[in-house]
Amino acid sequence: MALYRSSPGRRIAAGVVLVLLVLLPWLLEILDQSFYVSFASRVLIFALAATTLNLVIGFGGMVSFGHAAFFGVGAYCVAILADSGVLSAALAWPLAAGVAALLALLVGAISLRTRGVYFIMITLAFAQMVFYLVLSLKSWGGDDGLSLLHRSTFGSLDLKDDSTFYFVVLALLTLVLAALDRLAHSRFGRVIQSIRENETRMEALGYPVFTYKLVCFVIGGGLAGLAGALLVNQSGLASPSLLHWMQSGTLMVMIVIGGVGSVFGGVVGAVLLLLCEEFFVGISPHWQIGLGLVLLAVVLRAPLGIAGLFGWGRNRE
């Protein structure tokens, strides 16, 4: 895959979608479906989480199977802070992202010394450790999770109001997407994409490859923590299932459906997956069979194939 370049058309399309999304709460109110405002927030939060994984997998070429750890840790941070009386979003959310980034630094510093399947497995192992650690701590709710009784507060904004919260989420997502778009075209973005394409060559050209990958991994992890902080506000519960490896898998599914290595891939994937879940669950409880088949088709039939997008997958010597 070549270096990412966003076309004017794609930007215009994104702008149109943004306008529609801004209008969505009013639209839903007219239709007396205000419940879906909160649901829309949830979708956008997952879009954010998937986007951060896309930065790591799609742009950085690091197939991390433990992204849920950062997502979940962000959620727990906010819930734990709220439990001890810290409700300010201005404090809790950056802290959640910071703690997730710190964890990513630790995990990345060790995991990025391995390659290929061992990297997949070691990131999974770290995520499982976090999962079991949280399960074990009854003061953090153990397997019941930790309820967030009050949403974070943000100055004069009333985040308890579903529409206000939705707009905050939308603003943050837009910000992250814009930043990712800038990043993809920046020097740093070109470097990590080139590392994805040919790591040994980048080393031979004199790039400290490890450092670049680590920075990318940490940014992805930190922003996933932010997504987690938002999610716990939406759902009101930091649950261990956010840390489970199936959650990491689900995020991967989202970016593959939406497009690996594309700025909007995570958004498209999350929206499609969650909308399908919402609607097909009503039609048939067994809709996951359909999801599985669609996923298989995407993997097998995608014109370039996911392998086509990643030449590095099988460079076994």
Binding site: G9, R10, A13, A14, V16, V17, L20, L24, L27, L28, L31, D32, Q33, S34, F35, Y36, S38, K138, G142, D143, D144, G145, S147, L149, S235, G236, L237, S239, S241, L242, G258, G259, F264, V268, V271, L272, L275, F279
Partner: protein
């Protein structure tokens, strides 16, 4: 870009699909959000509650208090986050009038705040956490079954009376399990060899059984609902422990669902309950007979609780003449308890938990040769829970 096209298409679908439900009918129906554990090791309990509830609706000709009953059934998969999402949907999208069905106290505690904030009545057909009986008691929470501690208190009293000296306690590590230990110990004063907490949903008890063997207790009290209890009893017997230690359990771990799965090893086990299928009252006879006819099995105490929950809603709605929006009146009506429970007489305490009798049952063979529970006597009469004093109901 093609993706964005799909996106807007789906947004349009979303709008279309949901607008169909939008037409809200005038008050001719009652909506009940039934959220219960219908999959996984705890599924048996949820299924029994559901079937009991549905049987009551059937007996009431599909109505609750004269209004058409609309029961929305959702599986919580025994996961707090699933329960919470489903609850949000019940409250905000479906705008239900009542919620019921939750089996496990941890899930109850997870969804409770949202339900109460929304001023929706929750009629618990099972979970009776101590929190909601005491300091966190709430005008919108009613428990039609028992407080978690009660059945365990009854076993504790019986074990104490029988003179056992060294008891090991086994319960899952969740609020209901903790309540079980506390309840048992409130009336059992002898030595507790060990309090073993297991993971909720655990199925292999090899490590715990080895530990019990090394402790050599004369009795083992276990509270492991559903599939957990089935496996525990089977493995307990397989490990050869039944020769040295007598097993005791609350009715939860010794009811028809467990008996059916385990069979003969259950014979002779004493347990406690607030209800039994052989209770002699007209309501119960009809309930037990029709339940067997409908589902081809004996009802468990869970089924009786589900049945009572529906009866309770029915009485409440009838008393307020369908004016469900008058929450204050509806609460008073529910507190008044104008229905006949299959367990016989009981009344609600100030914390909305029952004051009722608890009985001793033993598992044996009945006249038809079936292995089943038989009521032996009364352990407590008009027993209230231990937390009511802490409840300052607004």
């Amino acid at each position: 870009m093609r993706h964005t096209k799909y996106l807007s298409l789906l947004a349009a679908l979303l709008v279309l699909g949901t607008s169909i439900h939008a037409a809200e009918a005038a008050r001719t129906s009652v909506k009940v959000g039934f959220l219960s554990t219908l999959s996984g090791p705890g599924a048996g309990l949820g299924v029994d509650i559901r079937d009991g509830f549905n049987l009551a609706i059937k007996h009431l000709n599909g109505k609750l208090g004269g209004l058409t009953a609309e029961v929305l059934i959702v599986d919580d998969q025994q996961k707090p986050e699933v329960a919470q999402q489903a609850t949000e949907k019940f409250l905000k999208k479906d705008k239900v009038d009542f919620m019921t069905g939750i089996v496990f106290s941890n899930l109850m505690l997870a969804v409770g705040p949202a339900v109460f904030d929304n001023k929706t009545f929750y009629i618990s057909a099972n979970a009776g956490p101590s929190q909601y009986a005491g300091e966190q008691c709430n005008p919108f929470f009613f428990n039609v079954a028992w407080q978690n501690d009660n059945l365990h208190e009854a076993v504790g009293k019986y074990v104490q009376g029988k003179g056992f000296k060294n008891v090991v306690l086994v319960a899952p590590n969740y609020p209901g399990g903790k309540d079980a230990m506390v309840g048992f110990k409130r009336f059992y004063k002898g030595k507790v060899g060990e309090e073993i907490y297991t993971k909720l949903g655990q199925l292999d008890y090899a490590a715990e059984l080895a530990q019990i063997r090394s402790l050599k207790p004369d009795a083992v009290f276990f509270f492991l609902p559903g599939g957990m209890g089935i496996n525990f009893v089977k493995q307990f017997v397989a490990a050869g422990l039944s020769a040295d230690s007598q097993l005791f359990a609350p009715g939860f771990s010794a009811d028809e669902d467990v008996i059916k799965a385990v069979g003969a090893p259950m014979l002779g086990m004493f347990n406690s309950s607030h209800w039994a299928h052989d209770m002699e009252n007209a309501e119960n006879k009809r309930f037990v007979a029709d339940f067997q006819k409908e589902y081809g099995r004996l009802p468990s105490l869970y089924a009786s609780q589900g049945y009572d929950a529906a009866l309770m809603m029915d009485a409440g709605v009838r008393d307020v003449k369908g004016k469900l929006d008058d929450k204050e009146a509806l609460r008073k009506a529910l507190e008044a308890k104008h229905f006949k429970s299959v367990r016989g007489e009981f009344k609600f305490n100030t914390n909305h938990y029952p004051v009722q009798n608890y009985y001793l049952r033993v598992i044996g063979k009945d006249a038809q040769g079936r292995i089943t529970n038989k009521t032996m006597g009364t352990i407590f009469t008009n027993h209230a829970d231990a937390y009511v004093a802490q409840c300052k109901m607004k």
